[in-house]
Amino acid sequence: MRLLWNRFRADRSAVFGAVVAGLLVLLAITAPLLTALEGQDTTSFHNDLVDSARGGVPLGGFGGISPQHWFGVEPQTGRDLFARIAEGAQVSLLVAICATLVEVLLGVAVGLLAGLSGKLVDALLSRVTDIAIAFPVTVFSLALLAIVPETFPRPLLVAVVIGVFGWGGTARITRAQALSLRTRDFVAAARLSGASGWRVARREILPGLAAPVITYGALLLPTNLIAEAGLSFLGVGVRPPTSSWGQMLSSATTWFRSDPVYVLLPAFMVFLTVLSFTLFGEGVRIALDPRSTRLSRKAA
C-alpha cells in the first residue's frame, strides 16, 4: 500500500490531476452554497445587464464580469454565469460518476460470471458483451433519449443510458483477469480446502480484480463526462433550465463572435475536468502497474 502511495506522490502530473479533480468535486458539492455566497441564483433573469439593442450582449467587459457576477452573465437572459457553471459542474460530475458506477458494477458482474463459469455461460455472456461493445453509445443514446418522455428525471436518465451502453469494456477486462486468476494455483489450493465457489470468488479472485478495474474505471470517468457533454450539446442530454456544460456550449455557438467568454468558460471547465481526471487516472494506473516478473526458471 505504502509503495503505491509513494509512487503516486512522486508523479507530479498525477498529483496535479488529483488536486484539481478534488477541487472540482468540491465545487460541484458546494455549488448551491457558493452561489448563495455570490448572492445569485441560476434562474433569475437580469435583463438590465444585457444590451438588448445589440441583440442581448452582456454589458461590461468579458461578458459582464463584476463583483456581483464572478463569471459574468449569460447573453440575452442575463442569468448569472458562475451559478450556472457551478450547477453545471454538479450535474456533469454527478452524471459522469453515476454512469461510471453503473458501468463498473454491471461490467464486473458480467465479467466475473463469464470468467468463472463453464464454457457455455462464458460463450453466451461474451456474445452479450460483444453486442454491448458494438452498440454505438452516443448514437443509441441519441435515439433513446429522443423517444423517452420528458417526465422522467433527465440527468438520471442520461447517466443510466450512458452506463447501460458502456459496460462492455469493463466486462471484458474483468473477464480476462478472472480467467487468468482462475488458473492460478492458489485458487486451486482454496478449492482443496473445501471452499465453495462463491467463497473462492470473493476471497481469491475479487481482490485481484481491484487493480485493473480501478485503473479502467478512473479513465472511464472522463470519457463519460465527455459523453454527457456531447449529448447535452446535441440537445438530447440534460435539458434546460437545468444547466450542463455541454448544453451551455451548444447555445454558446451563436455567441462566440460577440461574447467569447460565454463559449470559453464552459469549454475550459470541461477541458480542466477531463484533464485532471485523466491525469489522476494515469497516475493510478502507473502506480498500480504490476512489475512484470518473468520468472524464467533459473534466471542468472
Binding site: A134, P136, V139, L144, G230, L249, A267, V270
Partner: protein, 330 residues
C-alpha cells in the same frame, strides 16, 4: 484459415441479428404509440396515421411484425393502405413518412459528406498518431517524447465539438484564413472540397489521435523488451531491420483490432464534428431526425451504424489472424 473466417462471419451475423432484435424491441414496442411516432408527431394527418398503422401491422402478433421488419431488411417492403403503395426497396431500413423517402436513400445522400470527413481525418490521425507514437518510443525520454505526450493529453481532454468551436473561432473569424465550412462535392470543385474540409479533418484527427499515439508507443516499448528482439540483435541484424521489420510488426498488429473497435468512437466523434461545423452529413441527419422524432429514420440509422461496427470488428479479427498466425488455432 477459412474456418476461422467463416466462424467470425457467422458470429458477426448472430450479433447483428441480436442487435436488430434489441433495437426493434426498444423502439417499436416500448413507446406508447409507435404509430404516432412513426407517422411523425408534428406532421401527421389522420389518413396518413391510418396508413402507418396498417403498414406497421400493429394488430398482428409480435413475431410477425418482427419478421416483416427482418425480411424488409433483406428483400424490401411495401407500405400500403388501400390504393397508395409506398415502395421501399431492399435493403429496407425503414420508411420515413416525414421525408416521404426510404431511410436508405436519405442516408446515401448524406453519406459522401461523412465519408469525406472520416477518411480524410483517418489518413491524418493514422499517419501522425502511429508515427508520433513510434518515434516517441524510439526517442524515449527526449523532448520529442514529452512534446508528444502533452499533445496527446491535450487532444484527449478536449472533446471534438469544443475543438471545432475553438478552431472555427480562430481560423474563420479572427484570422479569416479559411472560409466557413460548407460542403462542396468533390466532383464539383476538388480544391474547394478540400479547403472546406481542412478544419473538420484537423478536429476529428486531433480527437482520434491520442489512443493511437499511446498504444503505438507502448506497443513499441513493450515489444522492444521481448526476447525475439534480443535474438535479432544477437544475430547481428542492423538496428533498422530489428526495429523496422521485427519490432514494428509485433507492436502494431494489436492496433488493427483497436482501429476496428474504434469505428464506433469515430462515427460518434464525426457526428459531433459535423454538427459543430454545420455540415450536411449523417451526423446532422441523425440530430435532425431526433429532433423531429422521426422514428424510422432514427432506427434505420442506428441499425446501419451498428451493423457497420459489427462488420468492422469481424474484419479486424480476420486481418489480425492474417498478421499473427498463432491466432488461427483459437
Amino acid at each position: 484459415m477459412l474456418g476461422y473466417v467463416v466462424r467470425r462471419l457467422l458470429g458477426a451475423i448472430a450479433v447483428m441479428l441480436a442487435m436488430s432484435a434489441v433495437v426493434y424491441v426498444l423502439f417499436y414496442l416500448m413507446p406508447a404509440n409507435p404509430a404516432q411516432l412513426v407517422c411523425g408527431p408534428k406532421t401527421c394527418t389522420a389518413d396518413r396515421l391510418a396508413m402507418v398503422e396498417h403498414s406497421l401491422g400493429l394488430d398482428e402478433p409480435l413475431y410477425v411484425q418482427y419478421w416483416h421488419f427482418l425480411s424488409g431488411l433483406v428483400v424490401g417492403r411495401d407500405f400500403s393502405s388501400g390504393p397508395s403503395v409506398l415502395h421501399c426497396p431492399a435493403p429496407c431500413l425503414g420508411y420515413s413518412f416525414q421525408y416521404t423517402e426510404p431511410v436508405l436513400d436519405k442516408i446515401l445522400e448524406a453519406l459522401p459528406v461523412s465519408l469525406s470527413i472520416v477518411i480524410g481525418a483517418a489518413l491524418l490521425w493514422l499517419t501522425f498518431g502511429i508515427g508520433a507514437g513510434v518515434l516517441s518510443a524510439l526517442r524515449r525520454g527526449r523532448w520529442l517524447d514529452h512534446a508528444v505526450n502533452v499533445v496527446v493529453l491535450g487532444g484527449f481532454a478536449v472533446p471534438a465539438f469544443i475543438t471545432s468551436l475553438l478552431l472555427l473561432m480562430v481560423f474563420c473569424v479572427y484570422l479569416q484564413w479559411l472560409p466557413f465550412p460548407s460542403y462542396v462535392p468533390f466532383d464539383e470543385d476538388p480544391l474547394g472540397w478540400a479547403q472546406n474540409l481542412v478544419l473538420p479533418w484537423i478536429v476529428l484527427a486531433l480527437v482520434q489521435l491520442p489512443p493511437y499515439v499511446r498504444l503505438s508507443r507502448s506497443g513499441v516499448l513493450e515489444t522492444l523488451t521481448e526476447d525475439h528482439i534480443r535474438t535479432a540483435r544477437a544475430y547481428g541484424l542492423t538496428e533498422r531491420r530489428v526495429i523496422g521489420r521485427h519490432a514494428l510488426r509485433g507492436a502494431l498488429s494489436p492496433l488493427i483490432t483497436v482501429a476496428a473497435a474504434d469505428i464506433a468512437a469515430v462515427l460518434t466523434a464525426s457526428m459531433l464534428t459535423e454538427t459543430a461545423f454545420g455540415l450536411p452529413g449523417l451526423g446532422r441527419l441523425m440530430v435532425q431526425s431526433v429532433n423531429q422524432i422521426d422514428l424510422p429514420m432514427v432506427v434505420g440509422m442506428t441499425l446501419l451504424i451498428g451493423f457497420v461496427i459489427v462488420l468492422c470488428n469481424a474484419i479486424a479479427d480476420v486481418l489480425y489472424a492474417v498478421v499473427d498466425r498463432r491466432v488461427r488455432v483459437a
